[in-house]
Structures are given as structure tokens and as C-alpha cells.
Symmetry: C2
Subunit: 424 residues, 2 copies
Amino acid sequence: MNYRQLSKEELKEVLAQEKKRYQELVEKNLSYDMTRGKPGSNQLDLSNDLLGEKYIGNAKAASGTECRNYGVLDGIPEIKKLMADMMGTKPENVIVGGNSSLNMMFDTLMRFMVFGTSADSTPWGKLDKVKFICPVPGYDRHFLICEKLGIEMIPVELQEDGPDMEKVLELVKDPAVKGMWSIPKYSNPSGVVYSDEKICQLASMECAAPDFTIMWDDAYTVHYLGDAPAKQKNLIEACAEAGNPNRAYVFGSTSKITFPGSGIAVLASSVENIKYSLSYITAQTIGNDKLNQLRHANFLKDYDGIVAHMEKHAEILRPKFNAVLEVLEEELGGLGILEWTKPQGGYFVSINTLDGCATKVVAMANACGVKFTPAGATFPYRKDPRDRNIRIAPTLPPLEELYEAIRVLCVCIKICSAEKLLEA
Amino acid sequence: MNYRQLSKEELKEVLAQEKKRYQELVEKNLSYDMTRGKPGSNQLDLSNDLLGEKYIGNAKAASGTECRNYGVLDGIPEIKKLMADMMGTKPENVIVGGNSSLNMMFDTLMRFMVFGTSADSTPWGKLDKVKFICPVPGYDRHFLICEKLGIEMIPVELQEDGPDMEKVLELVKDPAVKGMWSIPKYSNPSGVVYSDEKICQLASMECAAPDFTIMWDDAYTVHYLGDAPAKQKNLIEACAEAGNPNRAYVFGSTSKITFPGSGIAVLASSVENIKYSLSYITAQTIGNDKLNQLRHANFLKDYDGIVAHMEKHAEILRPKFNAVLEVLEEELGGLGILEWTKPQGGYFVSINTLDGCATKVVAMANACGVKFTPAGATFPYRKDPRDRNIRIAPTLPPLEELYEAIRVLCVCIKICSAEKLLEA
């Protein structure tokens, strides 16, 4: 039963039926929050050993550094090694930060605004116009940083294997286009894994701006749902090979590995960029929380330790993602009114409704007690030109709530779609 | 025996004697580091209960917030209350930050550079010239921030009760003078406690720049060595009373209360400034480490808890400060070649040698295996115009080392002073 092939009468019937279901759901007085990609509490429990003394030992790093006292700007050696391994690079290519990779991204762009990307470049704050390429749908917090900094965002379609490169190659001819955002693996919200081909294109493409920078938010680099983290060409390497060694700023964290907000963040880049960044970070802080670095290094141990830990997360998350896909298929399969992703990792399922329906669907679900990320949030300036994308974050709610929440969403989609088709 | 009253012959004799002592000290192959104001390991031990689960409870804030997950931009309520109490202000006047107040100071000035001090002010980065008043001697890391940001620093003498206000009042007539640094209590390095009179003057003085900002680094607000923390007029209150409510940005942390680098930092200001700051911080991070906030709130409990904890620090530190003063008095009392402070709190003893001697003294001590903070470090651009100020940090070394290190310093001072007087 494809909605698009139904007669007006049939659509009206469907609409009446679904409105009745909606009314029944409203009467349940649900109160579910599906807005953010937060781990569920059983995921948090996986890292509870971090709460105690177990991994603190004598509070000294392997190098002998007293972790309870001042010092060590870029991280104790064992955490640099661990985070470098996770990001697929070397310890000399990383700065271990505080608890938030978002903070490191913001600070990086603030440095570019005030100091430029290198000692001999013009600070972006001195320029009339700075533009950024934003693959869409994307992460609202990336877009918010640009908005605050007055960086003009140009949306580019995120295809199944990465951004629309034809568009990107055209845009980087403009010297005001200084950079782009990317979530290269299990992207937020679509779950896209950039192909090596597109990664190499991004690394090698000719850009009019010599200080063109790729803000590579590899937030989900080990957050797989399949058998293992997807293998992917390392951007820092690709940029070095292409003769653009300073183009890549790569970010990651343990936020969704251990405890969000109490984890460890990392910035990875060329050795030259790392030195340049540290030349300012040394004026910003004496160092980050080494006790937490020590805990994390001892708890996660090495790359294999991280992957083994992520498998435990995957075991918890697979049934949740399956629940979403199951209900979507059951309710909406073949109706021709919704497209959805089937991610192999990450934290989200991304759906596209019929054009012009997303805002209404989210509002209806909200009125029924189920909060989703506001429609438009996945686009720069919160404006989805086709008003169709909604981000589903299945990780936080318990499984039973999740089934019910997605059921609500499906009913809302059916109602809005039927109404939309009746209008046509 | 005042060196200044000695004949050349007598000075030569003194010099020979002290050179002999120096040689003996060199042969000891000492290796002491007196460069930074770090707590000693027995001070760190006072907070070892923070390393375990003891103060984590069920990892939930009193409000029920799950501290292991994302959220809460400005700190959980109990840590906001605690830090507000410590800073003598209210929870609505504070933002609880990460592990470093220096980081909050740097970020604040970065925001002023890029966004200005308020929605309707000009970003400092758009101005031809920004100047800052810097009471001297002062804290090298404040000066480094200004240097990186290209803010021109104007030194003003720090007198016994605060900065030379005559000079300050003259300087703030220049609209390019946008702010000043201050360490109002037990200042680094002189141990000066600003008088209420000068605090009120700073709050009420007429400034040509409407966005004149006082960067008030109250790093040692509870770090007393006497009977109790010195009472002092609160700058935020004083500014509000004087009709300049947005002039004060106040900073503090638990770095030298619990663990440096693994503590809690705070920014305090007017409610308007707090809102303005948060409007950008919300793009910078989702929130700081709430588990560490919870630990600290439960461990320190309240203002009285903090003071009781600081008394334990004071018990450890008093003998160290006394050792410094004892050796200085014994070696140099009445010689007319050194002035030194007798601080009632804080982390330093500040000394002034004869003009032109500080660099040589530090180099000589260094050659003898005892490292002091480089001469000049306490001045903007590392230039002490009289080359006389040296910062002594007595907290880190064990007591016996401290006696020996200060002994070395005194011998070096005697040698350099005698040589200087012989040249005259």
C-alpha cells in the first residue's frame, strides 16, 4: 500500500484510522526524550570501574610524573599513545585535551579567528568573509560554532559515500571558503562512512584558500554496530601524501566510550599544526586532568582494549537500533512516505519524510509526549530547505520505551504524509 | 654589617669568603627545583580521598542529574553553591568550569577579542590597540596571555595595599586601556592583600573605555598562613554598588586546595556577564566533568569545610615559609642588600636584590643546581626594568632541601651584591 498510489478517499480513510491511533497514544500521557545522542545507563555501567581507585594506582604516570600535581600540557605519554592509536596516528600527532572534543574544535576555530592557521597566515577575524562547507544533514553543534563565529555556512549534500564532491570542488575555488566540517565515519545523523576515494579527493583537491582546513570530527571512529569498526583511510596521512600536510584537524574523544563529560578528548593533526596549536595552548592552560588520563589509559589499555569495550556497547545498542528499524519497516515499509538509514555504527538513524512534513511530525510527536531533536537542527541555521530530515537517537531510552516512541513517530508520519498528499 | 657601609677592602674580603662557600655548595651537586608554586606531596595527600569512590555516591547530583552522562553547562547546583561561597558571591553569579581557572581567563579574553565584552561592544580584535594595566611584580602566565593576544601591557607598581592608584587613575583616561590584571589576595609573588579602599577605587573609577574589565584572579582567596583567610571587600559587589556592575571578572579554583590540574575552576561576575559568557560557552562545550564536581562538592562540603581543609595546608606550609624567612634573616638581615616580603598567605616570597643583580643571582644559583623562576618572569615581556625581583616558591621542596636551597640563594645574593658594590 504505497500512499502515493491511494485515492483521496483511501487516504482519508487511512488518515482517520491513524488519527484514532494518535488519540489513543496521547491518552497514554507518554514522556520520552529522544532528543540527544546520550548513552543509556547500562552503557554507562560498563565503565563504572573508572569511578574508584582501581585504575589510579599510585597516581603516577609510567614516566614517573605525579598526576596529582600541575604539569604536562599535551597529556601523559600513555594517554597520548592510546588516543593516537584510536585515531590511527602517532603520539607526536596528538594533543590530549580536557573532557570535550567539541571544546577542542571551538578552541581551534577561535585560534584561527584570532591568530590564523599558522604564524604567517591572516587571522580569519581580520577577513571580511569566511565561509565553510557543511555536508548535510550534519551535527547541530558544528553549525552553532560557525554561527557564533560569523562563518557563513554552505550546505552540500552528504551522499552515501561522503559529500557531493562535484559541489565541493567547485566551492573550494572561492578563496573565502576556508574549511569544511566532516563526520567521516558513522556520521551524525546519517551514519555515512566516507569512502577512501572521497577522503583522498578531500586531501588532494586544489583549494583557493591556502589555509583551507578540514575539521574532521571522527567522533564515532570505533563506535561500530556490525562486526568491527569500519576501516578507513586516515585523513592526516592522506593530506601528507597529497602535499597538503596541514589541511587536517581531526577530533575524537572517549565520551561515548566511557563517560560523556568525564572522558578524554583528543586533537590530531600534522606535527607542524600540533606545535603551532600548543604555542597558544601553553598560554591557555598548564595542563588537563592527568588523573583522569591515567584512569582512562589503565582502563582501556590499548586499541584492542577499546574495541573490546566497544563490543559491549554494541551488544547493548544493536537491539535498540534493530527496534527502530523493525518498527519503521513494519509501520512504513513500502508506503513511499519515508526513507531511513540503516547505520553500521554511530548513534543515530536519520529519516527523510515527504517534503514539508518534518516540522509537523516533530511537533505532533512532541504534543504526544515524545520529544525528538527539532526538525531543521541537522542543517545550518536550523533550516532544512525541504523540511524533511529528522534525527532519531535510539541509545538513551530503554527498549520498551523506544518501541513506543518510534510507534508514535510512525503514526505522526502517516498522518502528516496523508494530509500532505491530500493537499496536493 | 651593612654592605653599603663597608670599604672596598672589606667588601673584597666578604666576596672571597662567600665565593669559598659557593664553591663548597657547588661540590654538593645539588638538584632542586624552586621554579613553580606547586603543592608538596604531603599537601596532595590531604585530598587522597578524592581518588576513590568515597565521594561519588550513586554518581547523581542532589538534583538527580546523572553525573556520568552529558549535560549541565555551568556546573551541578552543589558545586555552583560551593564555588560561589568560596568566591563570596551567589550561585547565579558563577560559571563552574573545567580544571583550570587560567583556561577560563584565557577563554574570557579570547571571547572579548572575537565577540567583545557585550552584544553591543566592539570586539577587541577589531581595534588598532588594546592596552592592559599590569601591577608588578605579577604572574607570568597573565602576562603571557596578553603577549599572545597582542595586548600592550603597562606595568604599574604594586604597593603594600594594592596597585599605585594614582598611576591607575591616570592610565584609565586612555580609551585604549581596556582592562587590568589583579591578584587581590596574597598576590603572586608579593603576597599583597588589596585594601578595601583600593578595591572600591578600582570599582568606581571613571574609565574612558566603557568596556574596561578587571581580570581579578582570586587564586589564593582561602590560602592563608595566619589564623584565617583575610577578609576583603568583594569586587563584584563593589562594582555593582559603584554603578559599574559588568566591570569585574573574578576567577578562582581548587587547584591548590585539592589537586592542581584535577580540581575545579570558577568564573564569577555579574549575572549579565554570566549570561553573556554562557551564550558563547554553550557553543564551546556541552559541559564539564560533573563526576569531579560531585567529588569536590561532597569532599569539601561548604565554606567552613574549605577553610578547615586549608588549615591543614597551612600547617604544612608555615614551617616552609618560616624556613625561608629564617634563612633570609640569618644570612642577609641588616646587610642592606635585600628586601623581602613576609606573606600572610599565598604561595610565594618575593625578594628584591640590589638593582641589576637578579638575573646574575638566578644564574649563579642555577649553576649550583638550584633552579629559581627566571628573573624578570614577574614582569610583562619578562623585563624587570631594575632587574631585582626574584620569586621564591617554598611549597614543593621538603623542608631540609628548602633550607639548603635558600642558603644557596643567599650566598649568590651576597656575591652578586658585593661585586655590584665594588663596581660602583
